[in-house]
């Protein structure tokens, strides 16, 4: 296993960093307060190829490998988890899954639009009464003469407020099945969802499907294989994005903490010179490094298309999201009252980190997956 970055990957990381420094970090707290990210930012992400990072050039994508894509998620996530969550749902959950399982027609129609951000995509799985228990969804599909009719409600859908294309997972005669649903489908309405703890600018919405008629060609994947094929692929892709995004949050907390410790005085010393603060920093940096290696390892295995990449991605997501929560809490502590105030980013990182433990398979769901794998055989994990 070689976890060193290639020259190309290093250069990409520099590119992402400079974009984030100038275009994202200075505005992220405002986006969080106002509860949305502006269209101009989304256009810039599209123009840079960040919304189609891993798509092949033939579709207008940037054809990045997974390690590089992980770096993109880390860098964007270090500044603004709401923007990172757009990349997660648009690129990882939807575009990459269409690339994997879409028909030729679906790919030709959607991927060029998604690659540039001309169309935005969102993923509708969760419902008011079903989250972790994906098989418990109640949205239904019915077969009609020329397609399908969908009925139900999807809740907590990231970027539902702006997306043009939704993947909707529904239950029907042949089991759980996924569909591509366009925003202007009659019967589809989106209600903005306010008041979320973290990723506050991620424009959550509730999607109401009221006798929505979907043409036959918008069936996504095989009937009855919606969970195994579409949802599993999408969540695996999404977990990688969230793992790297969590790493980004933690690294930002650590960087800000070190900067603060070098400037703030207490009891006649700089914070950095207090032993207990040194201990905090040593623990933070060790945790960040461990998560970084897990993310890099997952990216490396994903690039090799190794079947162990799936459990290793789960491991990276599990560790990185919990670690981000610990580090963000420590960073608030280290900043004292200032850490609790919205004039700086730390309180936002603290709120955003909690969301990472809930989305793309909660901490408890990862624990079940990782434990089951370990019990069957440790060799896939260690």
């Amino acid at each position: 296993m070689n976890l060193a970055l290639t020259d190309t990957q290093q250069a990409l990381r520099e590119e992402f960093r400079s974009f984030v420094q100038t275009e994202l970090l200075p505005y992220a707290n405002d986006y969080d307060k106002q509860g949305f990210i502006p269209m101009e930012l989304i256009q810039k992400l599209g123009a840079r190829g960040y919304l189609g990072a891993t798509l092949p050039e033939a579709y207008g994508g940037r054809n990045m490998d997974q390690v590089s894509y992980g770096l993109l998620n880390e860098e964007i996530g270090s500044a603004c988890s709401s923007t990172r969550s757009l990349i997660t749902v648009h690129s990882s959950l939807t575009a990459e899954t269409i690339l994997r399982w879409g028909t030729r027609e679906q790919k030709d129609k959607w991927l060029p639009l998604l690659a540039t951000g001309a169309s935005l995509a969102a993923f509708g799985l969760s419902e008011p009464d079903a989250g972790s228990d994906t098989a418990g969804i109640k949205t239904t599909y019915q077969v009609t003469a020329d397609g399908y009719t969908l009925n139900g409600v999807k809740k907590w859908i990231t970027f539902a407020q702006t997306a043009h294309l939704f993947v909707i997972v529904a239950q029907g005669e042949q089991g759980i099945t996924a569909f591509l649903v366009e925003r202007d489908t009659p019967g589809l309405t989106v209600k903005p969802l306010e008041g979320i703890l973290g990723t506050r600018a991620s424009m959550l919405g509730e999607i109401h499907l009221d006798d929505c008629h979907i043409p036959a060609e918008n069936l996504f994947g095989r009937k009855g294989w919606g969970l195994q094929q579409i949802v599993n692929t999408a969540l695996d892709n999404g977990r990688y994005s969230v793992a790297c995004g969590s790493l980004g949050i933690a690294r930002a907390c650590l960087e800000d903490s070190i900067r603060y410790a070098k400037n703030r005085r207490s009891f006649g010393q700089l914070l950095k010179d207090h032993q207990l603060i040194k201990q905090k920093i040593a623990n933070m940096v060790t945790e960040v490094k461990a998560a970084s290696l897990l993310c890099r390892n997952a990216g490396y295995l994903r690039d090799k298309k190794d079947p162990d990449s799936i459990i290793q991605t789960s491991l990276a997501k599990y560790h990185a999201s919990r670690m981000a929560n610990n580090i963000a809490a420590e960073a608030v502590q280290l900043h004292g009252a200032l850490g609790c105030h919205d004039s700086i980013s730390i309180q936002r990182y603290f709120r955003d980190a909690k969301v990472m433990e809930i989305i793309e398979g909660s901490t408890e769901i990862q624990q079940i997956l990782i434990a089951d794998h370990s019990i069957a055989g440790l060799s896939t994990i260690l």
Partner: protein, 85 residues
């Protein structure tokens, strides 16, 4: 990739399944591992990636039929068919 097919897909498939299901769990080549409840929710995804990588095939939309994956023998038949043998 000629080598793995020469070794016999059955051997390679079984080795992978035992690794995922547990070395100590017994099941016959013809038994339905899904029906026996031996596999978790991530397994179908891992299996597809494994088959593609080990046998140099592309599992496509239309290949997703449980009959292709339910047992070691069925998977072997599926691989041989995909390889045109």
């Amino acid at each position: 990739m000629e080598t793995p097919t020469q070794a016999g897909p059955r051997v390679i498939i079984r080795e992978f399944l035992q690794k995922r299901i547990g070395q100590d769990v017994q099941f016959a080549d013809t038994e339905d591992i899904f029906q026996l409840g031996l596999v978790n929710s991530l397994f179908a995804l891992e299996l597809v990636v494994f088959l593609e990588k080990s046998f140099d095939i592309a599992v496509e939309n239309e290949d997703l039929n449980l009959d292709n994956f339910r047992s070691v023998s069925n998977m072997e038949t599926f691989i041989l068919k995909k390889k045109g043998k």
